[in-house]
Amino acid sequence: MRFSRTSKALGVMAIAALALTGCGGGGSTAGGSTGGGASKVIIADGSEPQRPLMPADTNEVGGGKVIDLIFAGLVSYDPSGKPVNELAESIEGKDGKNFTIKLKKDQKFTNGEAITAKTFVDSWNFGAAAKNAQLSGSFFESIKGYDEASAEGSKVETMSGLKVVDDLTFTVELKQPESDWPLRLGYSAFVPVPSGALKDPKGFGEKPVGNGPYKLADGGWQHNVQIQLVPNPEYNGPRKAKNAGVTFKIFQNDDAAYQDLLSNNLDILQTIPTSALKNFKSDLGDRTINKPYAGNQTIAIPEYLPEWSGEAGKLRRQALSMAINRDEITKVIFSGARQPAKDFTAPVLDGYSDSIPGSENLKFDAEKAKATWAKADAIQKWDANKTFTIAYNADKGGHKAWVEAVVNQLKNTLGIKVEGKPYATFKEARNDATAGTLTGSIRAGWQADYPSLYNFLGPIYKTGAGSNDARYANPAFDKAISDGLAASSVSEGNKAMNKAQEILLTDLPAIPLWYQVAQGGWSDKVTNVDYGWNGVPLYYNISGK
């Protein structure tokens, strides 16, 4: 029976196949309930969190979206970015340096543990202490005692600026006055975590227990596949869930998510992929949103490069800025998914102004650009063989198209050699930027962590600041910023911040290009979709049709 051997061979393959296919399975499907209104489970797009789901250790969107829904902090932001008390009864501070925080009564984590003043102090100390290596630890840097706790190899694990007064009251002392400090408290690094989290952060990060409008479903985090959240019935803050849960389906690429949206397998897609920008409005009809959020894009030009330093460097940067036609690029390349920048911050913020003196430097004016460039040449001649580069990361974000457009505009207007310089990955680009070894300019995007003008200025342009890729140092700007922080109220502070921006708009350590606009879409199964100040959908507010 020689024939049977052949069939055996094929048979073995078939059996192996069955064994392999059989051993998978398990896990529940992403499909939600079919009911309408509040009984609808919202299927949203997400990405796999890079770190365990520990609030102070999460600094990227994939984990951030989840953390924001399963935790509640002292305040949360309403859609316009205004802080609303969530756990806080009151936050008081008259001198901008000492704050007294009172908590609401009877607040609990979903495991029953009570949330007291001590919970907050312990959570914040944990986030700041160097030994815990939390990625967002630097959010506590304004608090007195942070430097001691966060120093490498430090034995100090608490910040001296935090003091528990009674069960529901604690005080915070900052290093120096910062009038906008309370605005930051809605950021996820400031939420309380239960005591178990501090003992076993890694284990906790797998199955976080929070106090927010949602909680993680049992076995809800299926790595690389989905994260299922169900409403927390005990939550009584302003972000009450209006649906039966949110399931973040994890996508590696936006195009797949868009196909899922088109066929109603996905309820909401936060960002329409570049490939679909041309036709998503005809595909989705009125089920789309186009809303600016607190983010912008700039080109940072390091002052440590000789040709970009001093007075000549300043004039050259102004010339570059005036040689870029922002209106054209935002229309042609982005089809309206960006708005031309008029300052260094973002239009959704309280205190924003589109007519700060100096903002004319951000307007396209070819003649003036040429004249300014010539002025710089009179001081220090530009080497005609030199190529000005604009570095960007080619792995994600779709930066190539606009960088090429800017390159061409600069070439045509100024007649100099300009090139885009792609880095294979984001991390390579960041490496050169943080090490100060750039050989030309680099694109820099900033997305605000909390809705404040200062967040767009201080961390990026203050002398020695952590994200100061341009290595910009101007004592007058530093002073204007600290004046703003010491102001008695947020509105006074905003005025001072815009004064500081006047300096920036002349010096242009970075050239503001455009503001980010959230462009998302949703399926015909859901309604009440709106986006927050940070460009993230307000998931708790979405309901079924």
């Binding site: 020689r2 024939f3 051997r5 052949t6 055996k8 061979a9 393959m13 078939a14 192996a16 196949a17 392999l20 296919t21 051993c23 998978g24 399975g25 896990g27 499907t29 992403a30 796999e48 890079q50 770190r51 600094n59 990227e60 160097a130 030994k131 290596a133 939390q134 990625l135 630890g137 630097s138 966060s150 120093a151 430090s154 890694k202 990060g205 790595h223 690389n224 596949v225 389906k249 994890i250 590696q252 690429n253 195009d255 797949a256 998510a257 196909q259 899922d260 088109l262 066929s263 990955t425 984001f426 991390k427 680009a429 960041r430 490496n431 943080t434 820099a444 961390p459 952590g466 994200s467």
Partner: protein
Amino acid sequence: MATYILKRFLQLIPVFLGATLLVYFLVFSLPGDPIVALFGDKPVNEAVAARLREQYHLDQPFWIQYLLYLKGIFTFDLGQDFSGRPIAAVLGEVFPVTARLAVMALIFEAVFGIIFGLIAGLRKGKFFDGTVLVASLIVIGIPIFVLGFLLQFTIGVQLGWAKPTVSSAATVQDLILPAIVLGLGSFAYVLRLTRTSVIENMNADYVRTATAKGLSRFRVVRVHILRNSLIPVITFLGADLGALMGGAIVTEGIFNVPGVGNRLYRAVTQGEGPTVVSIVTVLVLIYVVSNLLVDLLYAWLDPRIRYDA
């Protein structure tokens, strides 16, 4: 035979060491500091970065890192990925999914490739043969991501016969469309290989003898033509299983399959050395073992082949 198999398994040791060393070195040489990248645009807290580097041995020179990794393997500890999860658990999640996908693709290409190839070969020069040849050429010519998007859009979105992406459980049903896309290229090769082989064997002496003996046409085709034609096809399929598993990155991306390719891509872009090495090493081992199985199948299919120690 037993000594032969043992010998082949012993060969796995240098292959394993070589593969891990090479891949570890490649990941090590990737530019950029993965820990700095974890901070994104945010300021890098040096104390935190130093602790993380220490945790992942990134502060050590290459050889120490590699030896620590090897030591981990022999103590059944592959280390952790950046989200703090054991890599062994990650492998346990992604490999079954991709194995399912690859085996389904393999079955698809084997069954349809051999059937179509056999019919085309038997009817050489006829209409069916011509059509199939042209069609297979087109399939080979079009890149897999074009086919993938095309099928996803027409079958998944417009017709709604299948979901455009797989569900969380990645069931067999979900994977049918991705498996077809993944297997399409190889399907065309199997078809052409079978066809050529069948045509060659039809003219062989033993086929003429068998026909002259008065055996039925069916039996001649089944036993004398098909079986002898399968040897090169089996070689191809064996080697293809490894290629399908490793080459599923594009397909997995299009259909959002939570498998090896997706995880590997993320690990490479994040610079997670141990994760990349572990995944690639398992892929290499699968490749080697499936080749061994192919060699053993030869002896089964063709009694003239004998393996002596």
